[in-house]
Structures are given as C-alpha cells and as structure tokens.
Symmetry: C2
Subunit: 234 residues, 2 copies
C-alpha cells in the first residue's frame, strides 16, 4: 500500500461521504459534481480520477446504501434472537423507520427505477448484487419461519400453472419452500414493501394522515397469517 494509494483511498472515501451528505440534505439533485468537489476541496474534473462519470458516482452510492441498509437490518434481526415473530417485526419496522428517517436515500434505492428493456443481461452490477442480498434478508427469514412451523398455503390448482411454474423456479432462493408457500410469502413481502414505499413517498397521506397505526395493523395481520405469535396492536 503506497502512500499515494492511501491518499487515494482516503480521498475516495471522503468523496463518498460528501456525496452522501449532500444527498441527505438536498436529495438526489443535490449530488452535483461541482458541489461534491467543493465539499472535499477539489475541482469537478478531479472527480473523474475516481469515477468515470457522474452517474457512476451515484450508482456506487446506491450500492453502498444497499449494503449499509442490509447489514443494518441484519443486525436488527439478530437483536431478536430466537423469536421469529420479533425478527419479522424488527425487520419490517426497521425498513420502514429507515425509509421515513432518510426519504432521499430510500427514494434513491426503491423509487422510480424504470427498467431499461434493453438492459436485460447485466445482472452482475454491484447494485444488482446488493439488491439481491437485500432481498435475501426477507427470503431467509420467511423460509426459516416456514420450516420451523409451516403455515397453510393454497394448493397449486388455485394459483394457475403459469404462476406455479414461476414460483417453482424461485424455490431454491426460498430454501425449498413449495410454490403455494412462496406465493403467500411473496404476497406479504409485496404488501409490506408497497406499504412502506407508499408511505415514504407520500402516496398514503391522501387517505391516512398517520400511517403508523395502519402499518402496525397490517404487520400484525401478516404475522398472524404466517402462524406467528404476534402482539395485538394497541
């Protein structure tokens, strides 16, 4: 490790920290090259020694945030050792709290990422892998819940063959759960995920001024459906 390499690593970390600071303060739009450069006492072109483009900087920031959120949630889950019900609550509330506390970061990860139809095969980007690790959080927990005490699930007939085929392909990621159980898990996941997104993005305030109680009720409902011993809300 050269002295130059050390300086480089330090500067790179400082750039990321600055970018993140600007993101929190002023949203994605605030992450300008000149703004970041000013924050670390550099000029804008100097940043091109560290990132090939502005977009690359933001992309790397996204991957970092994903990793950070994932580890934070993993630690949170570890806090509820043994009690799977508590772990579900910790995970769901943890994600919600994180989103509500830092809407800008949350939006960067989960908001409005219109998929490029052309970009199909690039599943090896760090952002993609980080997203997969994040998704694994929920899959692992759900699989553990199911293997410990399988909850009832709809038979293949009511789901339709096309859906069952897709769910079966996902079976490996869900540690061998049957399609019906994966379907239910997916339902719960999309419910929580959609709920949090809507609340953070203000799409829920049209109808509910404070979504906390609603979220709690939904989480309770989902926990019950998974056969967990959940504390009744308020």
């Amino acid at each position: 490790m050269n002295r130059r390499d050390e300086a480089r690593a330090a500067t790179l970390a400082e750039i990321k920290r600055a970018a993140r600071r600007l993101l929190v303060q002023g949203g994605v739009g605030a992450i300008g090259l000149r703004a970041v450069a000013r924050e670390v006492n550099l000029t804008a072109p100097a940043l091109y020694r560290y990132f090939p483009s502005h977009e690359a900087l933001v992309t790397e920031l996204i991957a970092d945030l994903y990793d950070e959120l994932t580890t934070a949630l993993m630690e949170l889950r570890c806090a509820g050792e043994g009690d799977l019900s508590a772990q579900l609550y910790l995970l769901a509330n943890g994600l919600r709290d994180w989103g509500l506390a830092q809407p800008a970061e949350f939006a960067l990860l989960f908001g409005t990422t219109i998929p490029d139809p052309d970009a199909v095969g690039h599943d090896d980007t760090p952002g993609h892998q980080a997203a997969m690790r994040f998704g694994g959080l929920f899959k692992d927990l759900v699989a553990q819940i199911w293997h410990e005490k399988p909850f009832p699930y709809p038979p293949d007939e009511v789901l339709g063959s096309k859906l069952v085929a897709q769910l079966s392909d996902e079976s490996a990621h869900f540690h061998g759960m049957p399609p019906g159980a994966i379907y239910l898990s997916l339902t719960y996941w999309t419910r929580l995920y959609g709920l949090i997104c809507m609340e953070v993005f203000g799409q829920l305030h049209w109808v509910l001024p404070d979504a906390a109680a609603y979220f709690e009720a939904q989480l309770y409902e989902i926990g019950l459906a998974m056969g967990l011993d959940c504390p009744a809300p308020e």
Copy 2:
C-alpha cells in the same frame, strides 16, 4: 374570444402536446424547455408567456395526465355495467395496463414524490384535486360493492382505537362504510397500488420474471375477499 386568444389557446395546447410527446419518448428528463420550444417552432423564452417556470409546465402536465387517466378508467368501468366484479377487474387491470404501456407517465404521477414537510396546507393545487378525483374512483367502486353486499370486516377492537379514529374520519369519502370495512378496502387498494407500482418500476423482476400471473392471482384473491363472483385464474 379574440383571434389572439385563440392563437394563444392553440399554442398552449400544442406546447402541452409536444411536452407529452417528449415525455413518452424520453422520460421526464426529455422535457426540456428548448426541446419543447423546438417542437412547436418557438424559442425557449417564449414558453414563459405560457408557464411561469419549467416546473409549472411539468406540474400542469401531471394534472392533465391525472385527469386523462381518471376519465379513461371511468369509461373503462362503465364498460362493465352492472357487474361490480367485472368493474373491479377492469379498473385494476386498466391502471396496470396504463402503467405498463406508459411507464414514463406513470412514474411522473406515482413515482418518488417525496412530500415536502413544509407544504402542508396547499391542498388546493390542481394536481392535488386531480389526485383526489383519481382516488375517488376506487373509493366509489368499493363503497358500491359493500353497500350492495356487505363483506365481513374486522371489529374495531382488533384494529386499535387510533386506527379506528382515522378510518372513521374517512367514512364520508367511503359513503358511510364502517371503519373495519374501510380498513379492508384500504388494504386491497394499497395491495393493488403497491403491486402495480412495483411491477412498473421493475422492483418485482428480481423475484418474478413475469408479474402478470401473480397480479391476476392477487386480484382474484381480493375479489373473493370482497364477496364478488370472480373468475378463477387459468
């Protein structure tokens, strides 16, 4: 109506059409003042005779899109005359199809709108009112379904007093439905809404390559829960 006023109205409509064309082709980022101006054979400063700022242009475009989507869905609902189950399917699938067909417009309406904590009192913007009219679509349908054949709903005790209080405040918008029934309706709405958002924004492809079958199953489940006679999927 002067000849000048006519020309003005025509130009304004043409500007909106051009902006919309650019939106469809290249997303929100493509709606540049110079790009729009070029499209209507004007210069960028000329647009300031019609809109106070670039943001105002986009905002007005949003309101227009809301209105257009709302009337399109209303017409779609009218197509399923009498059959409430068919109307639910038409509405849900209509919104989904609209979002999938025009992701850019969909993102503009429903994506990543981080609410400004300061801007609380401005509930009189055309965008807000358009959004309310849009929300009314689902509320009206659900209320009609419930009044025709009330579906079972959880008693107030299991929901918690805080949530019941909020739901009761919404009772007027749901044509006098009880809190428990509103709660269930809200659950179905957020499920559909979240599902469509996630699919359009590509957050569902991580786990399901084709979300059509999944959406159909969810819609079937929801229809059943509302006590409707729904066609079983495939």
